[in-house]
């Protein structure tokens, strides 16, 4: 059965690259995001997350490679089904909330005004206040509502939590998960802090220095990696016989992150790995990768 035909990917990118002068912000990025997934896009600052999201949003053209959004090459029509909130939630500060909504309604073909109004009522955001006078958390909610009112099939959020306090963060994520539960939307959130996104995402992409280092379903990634602790003098043989992503030795003990098969002898104690530990270990070992396809053990995730 042709998976692609049955389950067209929300986003499919092939060897995407973006260059500024001599500097490649993004290089050789290939990914497939299945419809309905909630994807965490993680990586250190400057890794290329914003560049990637801007390309997916249709704001920048890649220097090389191809990308298909919702099955089409980026064009005006597709743009109306994609919603993007940039870092710092940019809005026209001199407009009131109601006027901002009006702008959104006028500039889009599909618009869910009742949903937007209900959301503002629930969040206690006054419609007649200028956006510039709202708190950062409220501005983030206005920005998110603008995006959701478009009824997008692809929702791209660039560092949505960075400027928010813990309460605002929770309210924001509650809204996003509500939208995810309604179904029919693929969500990509970027952050340089994985813990923000841990319980929210079901897929993970790790970008480092412009390249995709890890890509796959979170459940699969966690199932296929194990944290082993054991004697340092057996670390070498561990490396020889298993796929060790990264290891650190303190005194006589070594702690290693291993992918795939784990040794059966009792010298090594196994524990499941947490998402943050997984991401950090990969980031610290840039020559390692966990990608779908024959190279990696992560199953090819389509949906």
């Amino acid at each position: 059965m042709n998976q692609a035909a049955v389950n067209p990917a929300a986003v499919s990118a092939h060897r995407l690259g973006r260059r500024y002068g001599k500097l490649w912000a993004l290089r050789d990025c290939s990914l497939r995001l299945g419809p309905g997934s909630v994807v965490a896009l993680v990586g250190p600052n400057g890794a290329g997350k914003s560049t990637l999201l801007n390309i997916l949003a249709g704001l920048i053209e890649p220097s090389e490679g191809e990308v298909r959004i919702l099955g089409e090459t980026p064009n005006d029509r597709v743009r109306s089904r994609v919603a993007f909130t940039a870092q710092n939630h940019p809005l026209y500060r001199s407009l009131t909330v109601a006027q901002t909504m009006r702008a959104g309604r006028l500039l889009n073909t599909e618009w869910d005004e009742p949903m937007a109004r209900e959301r503002f009522a629930q969040l206690d955001i006054p419609l007649d206040r200028r956006v510039g006078r709202l708190s950062t958390g409220q501005q983030a909610q206005v920005s998110l509502t603008l995006a959701l009112a478009k009824r997008p099939q692809l929702l791209l959020l660039d560092e949505p939590l960075a400027a928010l306090d813990p309460v605002a963060r929770q309210v924001f994520m509650q809204t996003v998960m509500g939208a995810a539960a309604d179904g029919e939307v693929t969500i990509v959130l970027s952050s340089h802090v994985i813990t923000d996104l841990e319980r929210v995402c079901d897929h993970l992409i790790v970008l480092d220095h412009g390249r995709v280092q890890v890509a796959g379903a979170v459940d699969d990634l966690l199932a296929e990696h194990t944290v082993l602790s054991g004697p340092a003098d057996q670390a070498e043989s561990l490396r020889r016989n298993h796929v060790v992503i990264g290891a650190s030795t303190v005194g006589r003990q070594t702690i290693a992150l291993v992918r795939g098969e784990t040794p059966h002898d009792e010298a090594w104690r196994a524990e499941p790995v947490g998402l943050e530990e997984l991401v950090v270990t990969y980031l610290r070992n840039p020559h390692q990768a966990a990608l779908p396809g024959p190279r990696g053990i992560v199953k090819d995730q389509v949906a």
């Binding site: 929770q170 509650q174 998960m177 509500g178 539960a181 319980r199 929210v200």
Partner: protein, 140 residues
């Protein structure tokens, strides 16, 4: 209605925490037969957690026979024969205390004990709660 809480530092996967909280509530009589569980959207929203996680939890509860879901009308608690009486709980707790004293005397730390229990538990697979009841009444 049940209010869920997730403890991110516990090491227990979120979906399992939800399952256990439902089981716990059923055991203590806080959720009764016919009660409706909140919708996937309600839980996902209030916990700010991936809806698939909630779905997974609900599927597991359904699989264990604790709930049954009808598409469109919600998930309901099934008549369950798994209510554990306070007396049973007290007995179990006492025998566990004895065991722990023995383990401490042997020199196991808290972390060792947790690992030991988790490991030993794998030797005896978890059964459907209805079956446990049958075994008990058959005299154990």
């Amino acid at each position: 209605m049940i209010e869920f809480r997730l403890d991110t530092s516990s090491g227990v996967p979120p979906y399992l925490q939800i399952v256990r909280q439902v089981e716990h509530a059923i055991r203590l009589g806080l959720l009764r037969t016919g009660d409706r569980l909140p919708t996937v959207k309600e839980v996902a929203s209030s916990l700010a957690v991936n809806p698939n996680t909630v779905l997974k939890a609900y599927r597991e509860l359904d699989h264990r026979g604790l709930t049954s879901g009808k598409v469109g009308s919600g998930t309901f608690i099934e008549p369950s024969r798994s209510v554990v009486s306070p007396a049973q709980l007290k007995l179990l707790r006492r025998s566990l205390h004895n065991w722990i004293r023995g383990a401490r005397a042997a020199g196991l730390t808290d972390a060792d004990i947790d690992a030991f229990v988790a490991d030993a538990r794998k030797d005896i697979p978890e059964r459907q709660i209805g079956e446990v009841r049958r075994d008990e009444s058959g005299g154990r």
